[in-house]
């Protein structure tokens, strides 16, 4: 990767999210943040820390405990011309807001024939790995990818967290922004200072290879990367894609890679059945049918709620990914 064109600072993902919010709020007075505990406390993960001090309680709002209220209120704000960034404390708690998201946020522009727009960024920490059991570990991205009208973005690194969140805030459409809390603090890296945006909808080839394409996003990208590094020791040459955005989807990048490798393994934490891996599989076999030399494999969470004690067994970690890589290449 070429050197970054501007001063950068080492940040973790929480700091990068915080920085993106701060920079975008300075840039655009219409950006407001709302949610449970986001104000004075700065969020239970501290992602909004210091924002209320800087921007006031008018723009960084502590709400009552009601996710439908948070998103429903954000709709009204968006219609009137603000750019709300509601936080759902954990992605697991997004479901009380499901009606507002599926039936209102996603459809408002469409149903008004384009008279109104409903741009907002719904941020939520998602995924397992912090010993949170099934109410602090869910990965609900597929529900939202299935809902036309929404964009779904999932960064894996601090730089992407900042750049993609900034773009999401500037985007005219509603964006679900899922933050991989498992690596909230563990993933560290250089992040450009000041205004910085990365276009939504471009996957990143984080490792070039020619034998098999390994597709992941969010926290699982780290496992995928780890598995690819292990695979190298076995002389297995893996190309790794970090999708970064599930909707819009960078299908070209996927098709290009799979047409080259002829094999694909997809990793996600969410339960397998009807997860986003299913859609990717369907698209790949539609577009790369004649290139495919093995069935596309999915390494995913199981079709169970997310367990507490056995979470390391549940998560599709590197060893399971590695096994799938071997199977797919030996097919």
């Amino acid at each position: 990767m070429p050197p970054l064109p501007r001063p950068a600072r080492v940040m973790n993902i929480i700091q990068a999210v915080n920085d993106a919010l701060r920079v975008e709020m300075r840039r655009d007075r219409d950006v407001v943040v709302l949610g449970e505990d986001v104000g004075k406390f700065g969020g239970v993960f501290r992602a909004t820390q210091g924002l209320q001090e800087e921007f006031g309680a008018n723009r960084v709002i502590d709400t009552p405990l009601s996710e439908n209220g948070i998103v429903g209120t954000a709709v009204g704000m968006a219609l009137y011309g603000l750019k709300p960034v509601p936080e759902i404390q954990f992605a697991d708690f997004i479901f009380p807001a499901m009606d507002q998201i599926v039936n209102e946020v996603a459809k408002y522009r469409y149903r008004s024939g384009g008279q109104y727009a409903c741009g907002m960024v719904i941020r939520a920490p998602y995924g397992g790995g912090i010993r949170g059991g099934h109410y602090h570990s869910q990965s609900p991205e597929a529900y939202f990818v299935h809902t036309a009208g929404l964009k779904v973005v999932v960064p894996a690194t601090p730089e992407d967290a900042k750049g993609l969140l900034a773009s999401a805030i500037r985007d005219p459409d509603p964006v679900l922004f899922f933050e991989p809390k498992r690596v909230y603090r563990a993933a560290k890296g250089d992040v450009p200072e000041g205004e910085y945006a990365i276009p939504i909808g471009k996957a990143k080839v984080t490792r070039a290879g020619h034998q098999v394409t390994l597709i992941a996003w969010g926290a699982m990208w780290h496992e995928a990367d780890r598995a690819a590094r292990e695979a190298e020791k076995e002389a297995l040459d893996v190309e790794v894609l970090d999708l970064r955005s599930l909707q819009p989807l960078d299908l070209d990048a996927i098709v290009t890679s799979v047409n080259k490798t002829g094999r694909a393994v997809i990793v996600h934490e969410a339960p397998r059945t009807c997860g986003f891996g299913a859609e990717l599989t369907a698209l790949i076999q539609e577009r790369c049918f004649l290139s495919l030399e093995a069935p596309i494999a999915r390494v995913t969470g199981f079709d169970t709620p997310f367990p507490y004690t056995l979470e390391n067994e549940y998560l599709p970690r590197a060893p399971r990914i590695l096994k799938a890589l071997r199977e797919v290449t030996r097919y």
């Binding site: 219409d30 407001v32 008018n58 723009r59 709002i61 709400t63 009552p64 009601s66 439908n68 209220g69 998103v71 429903g72 209120t73 954000a74 709709v75 009204g76 704000m77 968006a78 219609l79 009137y80 011309g81 603000l82 709300p84 009380p96 009606d99 507002q100 039936n103 209102e104 408002y108 522009r109 469409y110 149903r111 008004s112 024939g113 384009g114 008279q115 109104y116 727009a117 036309a148 009208g149 964009k151 005219p172 459409d173 909707q247 819009p248 989807l249 299908l251």
Partner: protein, 403 residues
């Protein structure tokens, strides 16, 4: 301003018991939220209570008549199969128009699905409204929604949604946004008494109560949620008293009394604008007809229970009021009705001249600000498919009407 006891059967007390007395000592719904009225049943009113000019009063009456005649005509058109569905406001015109009239032009209005009179009052062309009913190429929402699901940005009239109560937090958010931006704007949300059971009612009023958001919550308590009567909807004696749960102001008015509704909404707007927070205004009215053209109320509601309410028709009351003030004579009324009829017929004719279907590409418009590759691909393929000879239409397979 008179206060009378509400004797509507649907708002009757649901049986007294010891626990109730123990419950809220000192709280009595009737005295806390008396039913406010301006016009007596016979249309007489204390002149001091009338705060509109004579031409304004007549104009409101004209709108009531237009609204009623539009509903009647559209119900007939639906029966003739010329439109697919209709949902109107017969009996609730005073509630809808009185409250709409109390708001300022810069205010935002969040409708449920019966407030067509309000959007017309605020300037949506009648023809455009009829295009929405037809879902044709002239429809401002591109045929995307069912009839009566209009949106009209020029009047700050939000988009009608079928899911009940969702517009309530939207109204809160918009008003909050205006306050953040420093704009003098109050928003108003309309909803039925059935909507008060929904999650979004609770969230909207609670958020607004905590943050003193400048919003007016206007409940059309029309006695019914489809087949469910008011007293199966909630155990509270009045809807207005639900304000207490949120620490906000509440009022209860005769919803068939346009002047009382107007006054209450004006008071509520003034409170909101003055930073005193939201008000829940309960307008006690009645749904005289079926829920919508898909409904047949005979299956659950005997005609007798409706009868007393037919005698309280808000348009008759307004007419009597105007007559008593010497503002309306029989001839005027005939003229008003004729004019409304012609406006409606003209609008229908103009609307029916539009192509009956929006262009196929509109189906993919507005999902996102710019279509993604999925929408582009799918549209391209559909255009291709439609170029092919189609099988005969199989509409005969399906005979289920929308309820």
């Amino acid at each position: 301003m008179r206060r009378e006891r509400d004797v509507s059967p649907v708002n009757r007390r649901r049986g007294g018991d010891g626990a109730q007395a123990d419950q809220a000592r000192g709280f009595d719904a009737e005295s806390a939220f008396p039913l406010r009225r301006v016009m007596r049943d016979d249309g007489s009113a204390d002149p001091a209570d009338v705060k509109l000019s004579d031409p304004e009063l007549v104009a409101l009456y004209e709108l009531m008549v237009l609204n009623r005649m539009l509903d009647e005509r559209m119900i007939a058109m639906q029966r003739q199969g010329r439109i697919g569905f209709y949902i109107g406001s017969i009996g609730e015109e005073a509630t809808i128009l009185g409250s709409a009239r109390a708001m300022e032009p810069q205010d935002w209005l969040f409708p449920s699905y019966r407030e067509h009179g309000a959007v017309l009052m605020r300037g949506m062309p009648l023809e455009t409204f009829v295009c929405n009913l037809l879902g044709n190429a002239g429809d401002a929402v591109l045929g995307h929604q069912m009839p009566c699901h209009e949106a009209w940005r020029p009047a700050n009239f939000a988009s009608v949604s079928s899911p009940i109560a969702t517009q309530i937090p939207h109204a809160v958010g918009a008003a909050w946004a205006a306050r953040i931006k420093g704009d003098d704007m109050v928003s108003l949300a309309w909803f039925g008494e059935g909507a008060t059971s929904a999650a979004d009612f609770h969230a909207g009023l609670n958020f607004a109560g905590v943050h003193k958001v400048p919003v007016v919550f206007l409940c059309r308590n029309n006695g019914w949620a489809i087949s469910v009567p008011r007293d199966v909807q909630t155990g509270s004696e009045t809807i207005a008293q639900k304000a207490i749960a949120y620490g906000i102001a509440g009022e209860r008015v005769d919803g068939n009394d346009l002047l009382a509704v107007l006054d209450a909404t004006r008071r509520a707007r003034a409170r909101a604008a003055a930073g005193e927070g939201p008000t829940l205004v309960e307008c006690v009215t009645y749904r005289l007809e079926g829920h919508s053209t898909s409904d047949d109320p005979r299956a659950y509601r005997p005609a007798e229970v409706v009868e007393p309410w037919r005698r309280k028709d808000p348009i008759a009351r307004m007419r009597a009021f105007l007559e008593k003030r010497g503002l309306l004579r029989d001839a005027d009324d005939t003229r008003i009705r004729d004019a409304a009829k012609h406006r409606i017929l003209d609008a229908i004719h103009a609307a029916e001249r539009e192509p009956p279907k929006p262009e196929i590409g509109t189906m993919f418009e507005g999902v996102y600000a710019e279509p993604l590759w999925q929408q582009r691909e799918q549209l391209a393929r559909l255009r291709d498919e439609l170029g092919q000879p189609e099988l005969p239409d199989d509409d005969e397979d399906t005979d289920t009407a929308l309820p």
